[in-house]
């Protein structure tokens, strides 16, 4: 289905469903959302060696909302997510072309400080990965690293002890991640003793501790049971009141439940349709998207 041909030497591609790439593009290029764009992605190509993982993806992510990225395995949705905070820089064979801007600033400029960038664009992974430290230290580790908290001996000697600030921060972000009531009496316990769902909420709290603008989540609930999943989903919706959340999920019903807008990627790293989530799931414009979400093709 994703086979493409060049017609008459133009770059108009024709799929076996008869859709031209121009028509497909039109399906979502007119998409207008309320509010401002937080992230603007323009004509993004990603290669792993010679293999193209994303082709010409352009997509604006609205501020303070949940954007879901869906598509079959290998469609490039996780690659796209990792481009947003330059996680692909860690992969030697990865090459990124195109532009990503955060609040109008180019993410792929040479002078960008990657530590600062990832502080503003945090990430939560599929498997909960808390540090093998106390619950409290999991939260305060990032701010300490960034120099926003100082609670060491030297700080105390110098009269700059942020212990009170640390306590306030730990409580604030654990409350924000809907975990405080479950862990407030055991903040010094090892985080690895928490359940999977609690660990994942701790990882979200950890991401919030450095005060990000954007939170990227790659299959954040796929390793969790239905109740833990429901808590993560509730949390994602609440976070969108203050943060811009981008979620990759295999679970289409989850995308339908939690997101404001949905982007559908299909095999070959092509963004096929992007729009309001209810429109995508009730009336997709692209036949290929309809076939994919109704399970006729995968």
């Amino acid at each position: 289905m994703s086979e493409t041909d060049t017609v008459d030497g133009t770059d108009q591609r024709v799929t076996t469903t008869g859709e031209t790439s121009e028509r497909v593009r039109e399906a979502w290029s007119d998409y207008e959302f309320a509010g401002d764009a937080k992230l603007v992605v323009d004509d993004l190509d990603v290669y792993y060696g010679d293999e193209r993982a994303l082709q010409g993806v352009s997509l604006d992510v609205p501020d303070e909302s949940v954007t879901a990225l869906i598509g079959p395995s290998g469609c490039g949705k996780s690659t796209f997510l990792r481009c947003l905070n330059r996680m692909n820089d860690r992969i030697d064979s990865a090459r990124v072309e195109g532009s990503v801007t955060l609040d109008g600033e180019e993410v792929y400029s040479d002078g960008v400080n990657l530590v600062e960038l990832r502080k503003r664009i945090g990430m939560v992974f599929q498997e909960p990965n808390p540090f093998p430290k106390s619950i409290r230290d999991n939260i305060s580790y990032g701010p300490r690293k960034h120099g926003d908290l100082d609670t060491g001996l030297l700080a105390r000697l110098l009269g700059r002890d942020d212990t009170d600030d640390e306590e306030a921060l730990v409580e604030r972000v654990l409350r924000r991640a809907a975990l405080w009531d479950e862990v407030k009496d055991r903040l010094d316990d090892n985080a690895l003793g928490l359940s999977g769902g609690q660990q994942q909420r701790l990882c979200i709290a950890r991401a919030l501790a450095v005060d990000p603008d954007v939170i990227l989540m790659d299959e954040p609930a796929s390793a969790l049971d239905p109740i833990a999943t429901a808590k993560i989903e509730d949390l994602i919706e609440e976070l969108a009141e203050d943060y811009t959340v981008v979620v990759v999920t295999h679970n289409m019903q989850q995308a339908a439940r939690i997101s404001d807008q949905t982007a559908v990627f299909l095999t070959g790293g092509e963004l096929v349709e992007y729009g309001d989530t209810d429109q995508i799931f009730e009336n997709p414009e692209s036949q290929r998207v309809e076939d994919y979400i109704t399970g006729k093709f995968g």
Partner: protein, 227 residues
């Protein structure tokens, strides 16, 4: 992409479509019987129409259950979602048409000799019945153009019903006063019943339009006719 059809689910959707169409045929047969009862004023036949609604109701409840199962177990989206949602609504319309057919049987049972010769409500009823039949054909075929054509015909049925009602009332007004009081009572009953029959015929057509409107939504996601 590799085709991975959800065969069981697709078969369930086809079963639902066939089931709604079959229930529609059952309801149309009931309307035919109701109109025949009105035409013939055959008490025995009219009584069978009045007591014959159970099969429609059973079919309605079974298909409604099928829709709920599909929502709960298959979580349909896009065109599949619209088909199930539309079918769910169409079932209600068909069940109501079945009730109206029952009403026709009741009106036929209560009809006295003093029938209004000027007004052939049965003819208009057959127009309304055809409208429902065509809406069901459009549903079964997923034919958007036919849906719009069906909806446009509703105005004709409305106009015929309006004209028939006016004729009944005018006839009542123009009758000479001072007739036998017993005759007046019977006349009032007949007139009321005739007006109710005309109203129910109009409603049959309205439900036909609803079937077309929901079908158009299912086919083209176009709510144009729903409102």
């Amino acid at each position: 992409m590799i085709p991975v059809p959800r065969e069981e689910f697709q078969r369930s959707l086809e079963d639902l479509r066939d089931g709604v169409r079959e229930m529609g045929d059952l309801v149309l047969a009931r309307v035919d019987d109701g109109l025949d009862a009105l035409e013939t004023a055959d008490d025995k036949f009219a009584r069978s129409v009045v007591h014959g609604d159970d099969e429609v109701n059973d079919r309605y409840l079974a298909l409604e259950g099928d829709c709920i199962d599909l929502f709960a177990l298959q979580q349909p989206v896009a065109g599949d979602l619209r088909l199930v949602a539309a079918s769910f609504k169409i079932l209600t319309d068909l069940e109501r048409v079945g009730d109206l057919a029952t009403n026709f049987g009741r009106y036929a049972l209560a009809t006295e000799d003093a029938r209004h010769v000027d007004v052939d409500v049965v003819d208009v009823g057959r127009d309304a019945r055809e409208l429902v039949a065509d809406a069901l054909d459009a549903y079964a075929a997923g034919d958007a153009a036919a849906c719009r054509e069906v909806a446009a015909r509703d105005d004709d049925v409305d106009a015929l019903c309006q004209a028939a009602s006016e004729r009944v009332v005018r006839d009542l007004i123009e009758r000479e006063a001072g007739e036998d009081p017993w005759r007046t009572e019977a006349l009032m009953d007949d007139v009321s019943r005739l007006l109710l029959t005309i109203r129910d015929v109009e409603r049959v057509a309205d439900h036909g339009v609803n079937v077309a409107a929901r079908t158009l939504y299912a086919v083209e996601s176009d709510p144009e006719l729903v409102y």
